[in-house]
Symmetry: none
Subunit: 216 residues, 4 copies
């Protein structure tokens, strides 16, 4: 199993005039914000509370982040240095299920609750929405798109499918359950999603690889 760290390494910046940014302050802010997020959710992670806990001035936070949400998402990534699982076993169903289950797993527990709040906040914070799309949603979609493309080129997946919609039908249910909470994110979810999508539900469509769900 291979994991890709999604956090880009900070590129080496040429020395700029003036006092350099305090790494100490940055770290303290990240830790404080992450702690507050976990303890009391997004509502507790006010700029004031973060500043107080990090022993940092509010201005220092505003200097580097545009909104509460922007700090929160960075703190979230800082704490949960989340990785994207990928594997190329030659079996499309298996590869997809692995990726989706990895996300479902991340969504179980506190990290999922906080992510739900972040997604909620993003509905009224365009910056946060963009960061979430670019640093969270897209990387996963790209890996999944690659798996599906491999499936097509190997003749396992029909070439005329709309990959975007396919990925939505794989991933969206996780976010939907995370946010609406009408059903749990249980262990059977990921394989079922994949199998249903691959085989369809029309009567007569045989389940060609009934073992897919079991082997995972």
């Amino acid at each position: 199993m291979i994991y890709a760290d999604l956090m880009p390494a900070d590129s080496e910046a040429p020395p700029r005039p003036g006092r350099p940014r305090s790494e100490r302050a940055r770290l303290a802010i990240m830790e404080a914000a992450a702690d507050l997020l976990i303890e009391g959710g997004l509502a507790a992670a006010t700029i004031e509370a973060i500043a107080a806990r990090a022993c940092v001035s509010k201005v220092t936070i505003y200097k580097w982040w545009s909104s509460r949400g922007a700090v929160a998402i960075d703190a979230y990534f800082h704490r949960y240095r989340l990785t994207v699982a990928f594997e190329d076993t030659g079996d499309v169903a298996r590869d997809l299920a692995v990726q989706i289950e990895a996300l479902a797993d991340a969504f179980r527990g506190r990290a999922g609750e906080v992510m739900a709040e972040l997604i909620g906040e993003a509905q009224s914070d365009a910056t946060l929405a963009e960061v979430l799309r670019d640093r969270w949603i897209q990387p996963r979609r790209e890996l999944t798109a690659a798996v599906l493309q491999r499936g097509i080129s190997r003749g396992q997946v029909r070439p005329d499918v709309d990959i975007e919609i396919l990925m939505d039908q794989l991933y969206a249910p996780l976010y939907y359950r995370l946010i609406v909470r009408h059903q749990p994110l249980d262990k059977t979810l990921a394989p079922t999603l994949v199998r249903t999508l691959l085989d369809g539900v029309r009567m007569g469509n045989e389940v060609l690889d009934p073992g897919t769900a079991d082997t995972m």
Copy 2:
């Protein structure tokens, strides 16, 4: 085509002592809140702003609603007396697509943006979350479940499917696109979702009813 009004009629209350609740105030609050929601989104629909615009005291609002979100969702339903479309044509694919397209249609335009904000707010307002589930999500799921059950009993859908997951794979992509905004809610979405789910995407699975998308 048949439409079901989802808003329950206010039940007749037995006459209570004291001054009866002012219907004038209730309506003014709904109208004011709806106007504010549409003009400036949820952020603009503060209790103070609603009270000022409705010429109503803040206490009157707190008396009948528990939170900003509670007023907002009522105002939303008050303004967009949304209905659930259902039809029984005997064709599962068609019936599902009609329902899903009705929702996609409701999500296009301002009503969709506001709904996204309400869903966002629900992540930190349990009352709002509950109302959304009970009055918005569930009614649609029940109708869709009925369609799927009919499909099963007619032998159009395999009886061993997990209906809950199926419905997620049909509806969740709409909410996902509404909230993440990585792809538009275009007209092809609903039929494609249905067809993909029914037929699957595995190579060799023939598209049994290629006309589904065209006829809608």
Copy 3:
């Protein structure tokens, strides 16, 4: 000796709708502000400090006073319910000296230091400047003008004098010394000011009533 209280009694207001203003809060603000003024001067009497000490919200202060200076001057008057001394002995010199000495006396000690700060603040706070003029400077000038007018009608003072300038030459030195601090506000100041002004300093002008200074 007669003292006139300069603080106007609050006129009876007709009952207005809504919760009436809290007298408790008003008093607490006055006391807190006065304490802070005396302990740390105007610089210590920030809105935040006053609010904290009075156990009152900042908004309540802003609601009733327009600036820090406005609160401070009210608190000053609240604490030093200063009175204007006046007497009509028939002796212009004596009456004037009594009034001026009363002011000099008020200016000695902490009250004078605070007044100096208030006057200083008034240079950049038009509201405060106006209040100082209307409630502090003018009442005294009016009483002094009356004394001088009596002096004129009794034939003790030449009728062609400019009363405004005369009053400046009596009062201004007190404020000048209070503010510039180049000389103290000692006991001899008031009678000397009066005598010099009445008799002039030109050689040959006899001091007609050399006892004026001694009898006070």
Copy 4:
């Protein structure tokens, strides 16, 4: 008429090791501060604004001045290289009136408004207060004291007067009107102050030199 420049020439400093102080920076600070003072008053002349306008770092200002007031007063003198007028005509009244009118003249217009603000600020800035006393108030008092002394030695002024109080009665009204703004600093002020003080206002005191006011 003779004018004395009150600004002391910078004394020649012995060459010290290290980079010498930048005259360019000093001048830029003076100009920037003076401009800001005139445009927006003392409130606008913040250290940050001065530094930005002078293209100078804040530290450079703090290095050479202890407070905002200290910069402001230097900038004030830099811009208004004010001089003290003095003349020895043999006529005490005329000499005094000339000096006082010169000050009144300086106080009319923007320079007076700014001076009022500086005096105000000095109430909470001991350094500024000291500079004002030493470089502004005292030089004028010394010249005036000299005139009065000449008057005494010439037999024009009674020798038993308190010169300090006399000078207060001449100058204080100008500052008082500048600061309290209850009356304007008009052209008749200076001669009237002098004449009243010399002759007194007691009935019977003849105006010995009624032409004083007219000839100026």
